[in-house]
């Protein structure tokens, strides 16, 4: 009987296995549901799919909170994923990001005339699923599979505006460059497996703890190469300098609702993955990787802030600002203490609130052709749309790190941990770099309240129907920012042009307001009463970094 000796190898997962990945399962079900519901949705009226997705996100959030309250965390599916505090903390942030991203979507998708609206919502939810799997992975295999799900979904989402060449270009660039980074990461993982014989993070940690690490030890050189390759892969995914070149083009070209979601979600997933590999599994090899990440952190903080300061397009400025913020988070990784990992988690949560909000305001102002996000467009916003202006000012003050906002709390915990953890120089460089940040964030506030539109822009009533022709942002546009793109299709519409105040461009969708309000409230709450979140982050940090 041939099955006799095969039958012991039938693996049946138990109820606890399923329970521990309940949030992910709910999200997967929601993703499949939106894919099916798309079939019965009438073309052009697909906004309610966002509601379906939102319901699933709330369900997953409830499941996450229940798992946290349950308090018994551990591995599921034989050490593939776990639901430890880190995973749950990251899941809450990711679910918040995708929830707000879904709220931003209906109005924006309608305005941009995105044809594949149904697939848009499905891909967004599945991207969030990939992020959650990546941040809850306890095995290199799961880490990579999660990364691939989120990357593939985001390539498509970046390129989903079929009528905009910059969106297509963003998707293509992101696909090619990010595939390379994934390959680097995978090669690093393969070499790690070759050196240690394990793919589980706990197994790798046990191996490098018990085996003395020298270059002559046989596995030593393999591990050094593996560390380098994995560092490259992760640094690319979090857009740290010198692997940031894709960030501005992709963030500007992608639909703004997608940019808002991915700038936060990818950072959470990639930084938690980075922390699991470097701060947990390969923690004993700290002397080997620490100098590398130190250099990356310094470069990213200084370079990101300086590049952001030269931008006149706010969307592009925010893209570079997300590079700079990756630098602050890298400080927390390089410091490598329990307090710094707590700081990293706090920074991720606060960054999610304020960055989603900032991109949300840009999204509300963006016109159909993807223009309307330069500093000139923000001029005089304080009188045209006081509510939107106040929210933007709040998010800018928060990103600059003003006390009583979320941004201050994040920076405080990261830099304080760096000082306590024998990296005073990183904290000082970070503080100086964020002074540059104050300049370019507050320049937006200045434009909103203290400048008038230079010439009342000759805006076109035919704006909606104007053919979209924009120069392909080339390598030179990377350096000069959005300046080259600042002249939209006035030539074609000038005959019908009437003086329309920019406030009358397009009413902001109700769901967008809701998302902005959520982000704004959270930015203030996390800034004024952060104690609860700080305690949660500490509980999470204690499970990973001893």
């Amino acid at each position: 009987m041939i099955f006799a000796d095969i039958s012991p190898f039938t693996y049946t997962p138990g109820a606890t296995d399923w329970l521990r990945i309940l949030p992910e399962l709910i999200l997967l079900g929601t993703g499949l549901l939106t894919l099916m519901a798309d079939l019965v949705a009438a073309p052009g009226r697909k906004g309610w799919l966002a509601l379906v997705g939102l319901a699933g996100v709330i369900g997953a959030l409830v499941a996450t909170v229940m798992l946290w309250a349950g308090g018994t965390y551990g591995d599921a599916f034989y050490g593939m994923v776990n639901d430890d505090r880190v995973a749950l903390f990251a899941s809450v942030v990711i679910l918040f990001a995708v929830g707000v991203g879904l709220l931003f979507s209906p109005g924006y998708v309608e305005r941009q005339g995105i044809v594949h609206a149904g697939e848009y919502y499905t891909l967004m939810i599945l991207a969030a699923l990939g992020m959650m799997l990546m941040s809850s992975a306890s095995n290199l295999m799961m880490l990579f599979v999660g990364l691939e799900i989120l990357s593939l979904a985001l390539y498509i989402l970046s390129a989903i505006v079929t009528t905009r060449r910059r969106s297509q270009e963003a998707g293509m660039k992101y696909f090619i460059l990010s595939s390379f980074a994934s390959a680097f990461l995978l090669y690093g993982m393969a070499l790690t497996y070759g050196a240690t014989g394990k793919t589980s993070l706990a197994g790798i940690r046990a191996f490098v703890t018990t085996h003395a690490f020298t270059m002559g030890s046989g596995f030593g050189p393999l591990l050094v190469v593996a560390l380098g390759l994995m560092a490259v892969g992760f640094c690319f995914k979090v857009s740290a300098i010198p692997f940031q070149a894709w960030t501005p083009d992709v963030y500007v070209g992608a639909p703004t609702s997608v940019t808002a979601f991915m700038s936060v979600g990818t950072k959470v997933a990639a930084f938690v993955g980075l922390a699991r590999v470097f701060l947990f599994a390969l923690s004993p090899l700290r002397p080997t990787w620490e100098p590398v990440l130190w250099v990356v952190a310094v470069l990213t903080m200084i370079g990101g802030n300086l590049l952001a300061a030269t931008q006149r397009d706010v969307k592009r400025m925010l893209a570079y600002s997300s590079v700079a913020n990756a630098g602050y988070m890298m400080v927390a990784v390089a410091t490598h203490t329990q307090a710094s990992f707590q700081g990293l988690l706090i920074y991720l949560a606060t960054y999610a609130a304020m960055n989603l909000g900032a991109f949300g305001v840009v999204l509300a102002l963006e016109r159909r052709d993807g223009q309307g996000t330069t500093l000139d467009d923000f001029a005089g916003l304080g009188r045209r749309n006081p509510a939107l202006a106040a929210l933007m000012a709040l998010f800018m003050f928060a990103l600059a790190g003003t006390p009583a906002t979320a941004g201050f709390i994040g920076k405080w915990y990261v830099f304080y941990a760096a000082m306590r953890g024998a990296h005073v120089e990183l904290a000082i460089i970070g503080l100086l770099a964020s002074l540059v940040g104050v300049y370019y964030y507050l320049r937006v506030v200045w434009a909103i309240y203290f400048t008038e539109p230079a010439t009342a822009p000759l805006l076109v009533t035919a704006d909606e129907s104007a053919p979209v022709h924009e120069p392909i942002a080339s390598a030179s546009a990377t350096a000069t920012g959005g300046v080259a793109l600042a002249e939209p299709a006035t030539a074609t519409g000038i005959a019908m042009a009437t003086r329309v105040l920019p406030a009358e461009r397009a009413p902001v969708h109700l769901a967008t307001w809701l998302g902005l309000a959520l982000a704004g409230v959270l930015t203030l709450v996390l800034g004024i009463v952060p104690m609860l979140m700080v305690d949660w982050a500490l509980a999470a940090a204690q499970t990973l970094v001893k």
């Binding site: 190898f9 593939m80 295999m141 390539y155």
Partner: protein, 177 residues
Amino acid sequence: MLDLPTVAFYIIAILLVGTALAVVLSRNIVHAALFLAVFFGAAAGVYVLLNAEFIAIVQVLIYAGAVTILVLFAIMLTQNAMSRNANPFAGQWWLAAIICAALAIGIIYAVGSSKMALLSANASANMTTAGAAGGSIVRLGQLLYSPFDYSYVLPFEIASIVLLVAIVGAIVIGRED
């Protein structure tokens, strides 16, 4: 005395070298791509001889199947493939020849001096145990579903979500509106 695997090896080796040369030397680039398919298939034969059946199957599926088709599509879409001299001889062939020779010498030296080399004492022992355990496919299957140590059921299943995302993405990118 030549046994069957040795005979098979020499046949495959001649096929490998012959088709590899044909890929480089043939003037018609479509012929070169087709020779490449044969080359990939012969390489799979080497894996079979090494008791690595799984890699052999993957080699056929991915390289002989997908990669060759991709190359053919790329040729078809980018240039007039049926022109007689679609694969002109590059002027730097002598440079390529030198690099290839250096690479060959390096590999022969590395294989000859490695601890894993066929002539060393452990190698034959390794090969017999690998064969006795039922080949790599059975071991892989056991590892995928093993209830004892750790099993790769979850990533295996979740790979289907990666495929789902890829399918949805392909439709979004490719469908005409």
